[in-house]
Every structure is written in structure tokens, then in C-alpha cells.
């Protein structure tokens, strides 16, 4: 019995490790690649610690422009979907019972409809409206921002509605009735009773909507027109050759996310503490104490450590230069390549000797080694496109394997 429970515990721990390894491993690996110097994001082999990819990122106008577009679209989508989701949820609580199932199916459908289909239908619909009304092709209805906001809101509003429904289920309609009974008008009851009650849900729906909008690809890829969002730009980069500046961006997003999550956790803890202790927290007197926020609050401690780590990293990045290391690596590679060239030349010579000069040497012994090795040499990052050399089949196969 005892050994069985140990076995069970072992399996549980092993499973959790595998699961969260799967979940967090990729993010970890990607973050590491942001600090490695090779031109293609990779964790192994480790070459040189570098921060240049952050500079590359900061100088990438398309990324910056994409972030700007993403923000504009995100804000528009948040406003539209929160309003529509809230109205949809309110109507659901009031609609004629016979219609309720149909109505729910219609407003929940956008979650299940493939995002691609939503993007296409939005594009097609507004294009036709545009033609019908006889507008030119640069009218509002063909505007990428307008289309993307509408396309995304179609399904993000459904997500928001789910958040609101969950909150509304805990609302006591008696409160609205009580307000009416006390002389409030419908609008007053809505504004003073229901809206304050929905406020936390509106907040979380807005955050959810913004995140969903920010990272949406499937719908946006059909509707963005002349205004590519960050996600679109990233996808272009990832598909057509990349350098670790993408990893640098990912690292920044991961850190921001962590800070956000920790801040939220701290906020929650404090609320709980305040609730548990009654109204004012009475200060305990005497002796040295950690500031109140840290007591029993590992999240806060982690956050401070994170901030310290961040500052020291930035300082380090300002002073540290990877040039020397990179030169070293280049030198090492050159040596290895030369060795290889020698080896190959020797092989060729051997072959030629064996073949006893059967024909002219069309393969040019000196040209052959030029092709491999080409892609492994650290490139000056951020200068133009890499073409297709990083497509999966072209990836370097001859890199040093030590």
C-alpha cells in the first residue's frame, strides 16, 4: 500500500515535470536564443553572449510600425467587443426563453467558426458593400484597420460575452428591483447597480480582448490590408528567414507577462490579506521588518529580484561587448573550415589518383568547400533579408558539432 502511493506520487511528479516542461520549455529555449550570437536563433552550440539582437529589434521599423498598428487595432477591438459582449450577455438574460437556445448558438458560433473563415467573410462582405455603394478601393470599407477591428470583434465579443455571462450568473436581479423600488429609473439602476457589479468582469474582458486581438493571426491575415500588425510582421519574418531579434522580442514579452502576472498576484494577496484582517492592518511595532508588502508574499520578493536582475542586465549590456568573443568564434570556425577544406582536398586528390585522370577536373577542387560553412558564419545581423537560406531544408548541415 505504502509503496504504491510512493509510486503514484512519483508518477504525478514525473507527469507534472513533463507537462510543464512541454509548456514552459519552448519559452525558455527561445529566451536563451535571444542572447546567443549566431545569426539564426539557436541555443546550441553556445557561441557568444550578446545583446545586439535587442538593438536590432529596436531599429526594426516594420516591427515598431506593427506594434503601433496592433495597439490601434487592439484598442478598437477592446471597445467594440466589450460593448457588444456586454449587450449580448444582457440580452441573453432577458430574451424570450424559446429563442434563447437559438440566440446563444448564433452568438457563440464565432468562437467555433475557424478564424480564417471569419477573416474571409469580413473581407468579402465589406468588399461587396464597397462595390455596391460605388466607393473607391481606398474607402473606409477597404481600410485594413477598420476590417481587422470588425473581423476580430466578431469572435472576441463572444469571448467577452462568456466572461460577462459568468459574472451575471452571480448577479442578484433583486438588486435591480430593489433600486427600481427605491425610485431609481432603469438607466439609474443600470448605471448605479449593474455596471459597478460588472466592473471587474469588464476589466478582465478588456484584458482578454486586448490579448486576443494582439495575438490574432488567422483572421487578421486576410483583413490587415496596408496595416500589418505585429503578429503579421512576425509571421512574415518567421516564414521568410529570421534572426534572433524575434527571440529578443519574445523575451521582452515573456518578461512583461511575468511582471504582469506577479503584479496581479501581489494585488490579489493584498486584497485577501486586507479582507482577512478586517479593515485597517494594525502595524506591529518594534524591530526591523520587511516592508509590509513583502511579508508572506513570495511574489513580491520575486518581482523585486526580477527588477534588480533586469537593471543589472541592462547595465551589463551597456558595458559588455561581444566583439572579441565573436572574433574568437570566427577564428575557430575558420580553422575548422580550413581543416575541412584540407580534408576534402586530400580526398579529392585521392579520388583523382584512383580514377587515374579519367577526365578534366570540372568540379574545381577549390569551389566545393565554399557552399557549406557559408551559412554558419556569423552574419552582420539585421542587414537585409536572408532570402530563403533558413528554410528548413536549407538549414546548415555542416555546422560544428562539438
Amino acid at each position: 500500500m505504502k509503496s504504491e502511493s510512493y509510486l503514484l506520487k512519483f508518477f504525478l511528479v514525473a507527469y507534472l515535470v513533463v507537462f510543464f516542461g512541454y509548456l514552459l520549455g519552448p519559452l525558455f529555449v527561445m529566451s536563451i536564443t535571444a542572447f546567443n550570437s549566431p545569426g539564426f536563433p539557436r541555443m546550441t552550440p553556445w557561441e557568444c553572449l550578446t545583446f545586439e539582437w535587442f538593438d536590432v529589434l529596436a531599429e526594426d521599423d516594420r516591427i515598431i510600425e506593427g506594434i503601433k498598428n496592433s495597439f490601434i487595432i487592439g484598442i478598437g477591438t477592446v471597445i467594440l467587443s466589450v460593448i457588444m459582449g456586454l449587450a449580448g450577455a444582457l440580452l441573453l438574460t432577458q430574451i424570450w426563453p424559446k429563442l434563447r437556445a437559438t440566440y446563444y448558438t448564433v452568438v457563440i458560433a464565432p468562437i467555433l467558426i475557424p478564424g480564417v473563415v471569419l477573416g474571409i467573410s469580413t473581407l468579402v462582405f465589406w468588399d461587396r458593400i464597397n462595390i455596391m455603394l460605388g466607393f473607391t478601393s481606398d474607402s473606409l470599407f477597404n481600410n485594413g484597420i477598420f476590417l481587422t477591428i470588425l473581423g476580430q470583434s466578431t469572435f472576441i465579443a463572444s469571448y467577452c460575452m462568456l466572461v460577462f455571462i459568468a459574472r451575471l450568473q452571480r448577479f442578484d436581479t433583486g438588486l435591480t428591483e430593489a433600486a427600481l423600488d427605491l425610485g431609481a429609473t432603469n438607466v439609474q439602476a443600470f448605471r448605479k447597480i449593474l455596471l459597478p457589479f460588472m466592473k471587474p468582469a469588464i476589466g478582465s474582458a478588456a484584458v482578454l480582448a486586448f490579448l486576443a486581438s494582439f495575438e490574432n493571426y488567422n483572421t487578421t491575415t486576410f483583413t490587415f490590408g496596408k496595416f500589418p500588425t505585429l503578429t503579421i510582421e512576425l509571421a512574415q519574418k518567421v516564414r521568410y528567414g529570421i534572426n534572433p531579434s524575434i527571440s529578443a522580442l519574445a523575451f521582452i514579452i515573456i518578461v512583461l507577462t511575468l511582471i504582469g502576472a506577479l503584479a496581479y498576484e501581489i494585488y490579489r494577496r493584498r486584497q485577501q490579506l486586507a479582507l482577512a484582517n478586517g479593515a485597517p492592518l494594525s502595524a506591529v511595532s518594534g524591530g526591523f521588518q520587511l516592508p509590509r508588502i513583502f511579508r508572506g508574499n513570495p511574489a513580491a520578493v520575486i518581482m523585486v529580484l526580477l527588477a534588480l536582475g533586469g537593471f543589472s542586465t541592462i547595465w551589463f549590456a551597456q558595458t559588455y561587448s561581444p566583439t572579441e568573443c565573436k572574433l574568437d568564434v570566427r577564428e575557430q570556425k575558420r580553422i575548422i573550415q580550413n581543416q575541412r577544406i584540407l580534408e576534402i582536398q586530400q580526398q579529392r586528390q585521392l579520388q583523382q589518383q584512383q580514377k587515374l585522370l579519367q577526365g578534366p577536373d570540372i568540379f574545381g577542387g577549390k569551389k566545393a568547400p565554399a557552399a557549406p560553412g557559408n551559412t554558419t558564419r556569423p552574419q552582420n545581423p539585421g542587414k537585409g533579408s536572408f532570402g530563403n537560406i533558413f528554410a528548413p531544408k536549407n538549414l546548415d548541415k555542416t555546422g560544428p558539432k562539438d
Binding site: D172, G174, L175, E177, A178, A179, L180, D181, L182, G183, A184, T185, Q188, K192, I193, P196, F197
Partner: protein, 370 residues
């Protein structure tokens, strides 16, 4: 404070589709009266309350408050204030904001509201609790805040929907007295909904007993208890031993009932039975457990029964004795605890007697289900 006004229900029907929730209700409530609707859950009493407060329109008939027809007037325009079953205090507002919400929606300034809140808080003895949230108050305190909030609107009629049902027994009894006091102080009409007969009888000037959408009786508490209008009222309000049978003879106010299992017994005709209950009709007679006594004279009479003791319960102020009459007829008797010894061993035979005026005869009808 404002004077209480009359509330009149004239021929009110309320239907939900096929279902009739209230059937032909005619109720006249006088200004300043404490009026209760008493009935089991689902009898339609809350529906009536919601119709008076304006949350639903009657399908037929008129509701008048202070002589004015209320048709088409919304709940926020009626001179009523409702205290909800769960109180419906606004959880995100402070106590004082809750209390003066009715002023807030009228656009009264904050300083005036605060002043009024302090007056009302003093009235309900919660002077220093105004800054708290409702969730920080105890059950009884919440109760009083709900009352203050309703009174702040200076209504002519206060409607209360089982407001005490969530409280524990002690607090409930205390709040009964308090509610009655407040009512007498402010002098407005109270309409009170409850399924607890104790609440209805102790507080009310008048009680309407309801069953499945029908008002069976409207009378003061004592009449409802002592002179029920229907078998339902007799069996719902308080406890009663029921004897079914036929009317053998009628002599003035008294009727002799030939019961199915317990021989012929004498009972007073209820007021509602006079003129309608005839010799030979199916009848029901009711004897309250506390009306039964142990007879010293065991000779047969029309107000005596013999029964075997089955069980005895000691409840503190009373003993409940459960007996079995002839052919298994169950009878309950309650004896006041005046220090006597336990009077009966299980299985022993007893003779019971009652005062015939305390037994009530009615035409046969539906009983309240257990």
C-alpha cells in the same frame, strides 16, 4: 412621517400563461394596518406582493393604493417600498449609501444624504456602522439596514417579503417585536408576506390565509386560529386533529358529527359553516391538541374519546402525547408542563375530553398537506 394609505385589490387575477397564480383576490387593507399574507410556498402570496409593488401587472382587476389606480405605473413611481426576502442590500455600497439610495437617485446632495442617513442609522441603533459594507454586518444588522433603506424613501406602504426567514430563531423573535414597534412608530401600512404562522399571528392586525392562488380567509389572528373559514385554514394555521364524518344533527351553534372512526362528537359550527353546513353533509371537525384534556370522568359522552398512548415527547413548555384511537385513528394532545409527572406509560388506555366550543365543524374540503 407620512400617514399610511389604503391598499385595495379588486378582483385581481394574475396568470402566467396557463397557470393561474392568483385567483380573484379581493383585499381591502386599511391605512396604517399591519396586514399579513400567510400561506405555504407557491400559494401566490409573493406574486400579490410583486403586483402591489409594480414588478408585474395583474392580468385582470385593479390595484389601488391610496384610492389611486396603479395600472401602468412602474415600481419606481409607486409610493411603496419593498423589503426583499434576501434583503437585496447593494454589496458594493457602504451602509449609509445603501440607506439613502432613494435620495441619491432623486439627485439629493451628498451632505443632505449623509445627514438623513445618520438620522436613520440612529433610529435602527447602528449609528457608527455607516461606513461599513453590508458584508461586514451581522444578519440582524443587515435586516435593520434594509428596513431603514426602505423607510428612507418615505413610502406610504411598506412591503415585506419574508424578511425574517434567513435569521435564526432567537433573532427572528426579537425582530418580530422590533418590526411591530417600528410600524407603530411610523404609522404607515405594512404588508407582510410569510409562511410562518407565528410571525403572522404575533405581528398582524389582519391576516389573509392563501392556498394555491385563492385567499381562503381574511381576519384578525385570533379569528383565523379559533374560527377558521375552511379546512385548509384549520389545518395550516397551528396544529389540529381532524375528524371526518357526516352531520347528524344541528342544534343552534352546535353540530353533532357522526365521525368515521371515533363515534359521534359534538362541535361548534364555524362562522363560515353557518347556513352552509346541513344535516347529512360531509363534514370535518377539528380539535386542537391543546384543547384536549385527560378526563377524570370516563363515562361515554359526545365530547369524550378513548385512546391508547403510543408515544410521548417532552418539549419544555409542553408535553406532546401521541395517541391511537379506535381503528388506528391518530390523535395528538398537548399538555402544559406544570410540573406534573409523566402521566402515561406507553400502551396504557386514556379517556380524553374537550370543551365542545373549542372544537370546530366545517364543510369537508382540502387540507394543508403535511
Amino acid at each position: 412621517m407620512s400617514k399610511g394609505v389604503d391598499v385595495n385589490l379588486e378582483n385581481v387575477w394574475i396568470r402566467f400563461g396557463e397557470f393561474v397564480a392568483v385567483r380573484e383576490a379581493n383585499v381591502n387593507i386599511k391605512g396604517g394596518e399591519f396586514f399579513s399574507f400567510l400561506g405555504p410556498s407557491g400559494c401566490g402570496k409573493t406574486t400579490i406582493l410583486r403586483a402591489v409593488s409594480g414588478f408585474l401587472e395583474p392580468s385582470d382587476g385593479t390595484i389601488k393604493i391610496g384610492g389611486k389606480d396603479m395600472a401602468g405605473i412602474g415600481p419606481n413611481k409607486r409610493p411603496t417600498a419593498l423589503i426583499f426576502q434576501n434583503l437585496a442590500l447593494f454589496p458594493l455600497m457602504k451602509v449609509w449609501e445603501n440607506i439613502t439610495f432613494s435620495l441619491e437617485v432623486q439627485g439629493v446632495g451628498k451632505a443632505d444624504r449623509r445627514k438623513r442617513a445618520d438620522e436613520l442609522l440612529e433610529m435602527i441603533a447602528l449609528s457608527d456602522q455607516g461606513e461599513k459594507l453590508p458584508s461586514e454586518l451581522s444578519g440582524g444588522q443587515k435586516q435593520r439596514v434594509a428596513i431603514a433603506r426602505a423607510l428612507c424613501a418615505e413610502p406610504d406602504v411598506l412591503l415585506l417579503d419574508e424578511p425574517l426567514s434567513a435569521l435564526d430563531l432567537k433573532l427572528r423573535q426579537h425582530m418580530r417585536t422590533e418590526l411591530r414597534e417600528i410600524q407603530q412608530r411610523v404609522g404607515i401600512t405594512f404588508i407582510y408576506i410569510t409562511h410562518d404562522q407565528g410571525e403572522a399571528l404575533t405581528m398582524s392586525d389582519k391576516v389573509a390565509v392563501m392556498r394555491a392562488g385563492i385567499i381562503d380567509q381574511i381576519a384578525d389572528g385570533k379569528s383565523v386560529y379559533d374560527d377558521p373559514a375552511t379546512p385548509f385554514v384549520a389545518s395550516f394555521v397551528g396544529e389540529n386533529n381532524v375528524f371526518r364524518g357526516k352531520v347528524k344533527s344541528i342544534d343552534g351553534d352546535m353540530a353533532l358529527i357522526d365521525t368515521n372512526r371515533s363515534g359521534t362528537l359534538l362541535a361548534r359550527m364555524a362562522s363560515a359553516a353557518k347556513g352552509t353546513l346541513k344535516v347529512g353533509d360531509n363534514a370535518m371537525m377539528f380539535i386542537r391538541p391543546e384543547a384536549c384534556k385527560i378526563a377524570t370522568d370516563t363515562s361515554p359522552a359526545h365530547n369524550r374519546l378513548t385512546a391508547k398512548v403510543k408515544n410521548e415527547e417532552f418539549e419544555g413548555q409542553i408535553y406532546n402525547v401521541f395517541l391511537e384511537g379506535s381503528e388506528g385513528k391518530e390523535i395528538k394532545m398537548s399538555l402544559v408542563n406544570i410540573g406534573q409527572q409523566r402521566l402515561s406509560a406507553r400502551g396504557s388506555d386514556l379517556t380524553l375530553e374537550y370543551a365542545p366550543e373549542q372544537a370546530v365543524a366545517l364543510p369537508a374540503g382540502d387540507l394543508a398537506s403535511e
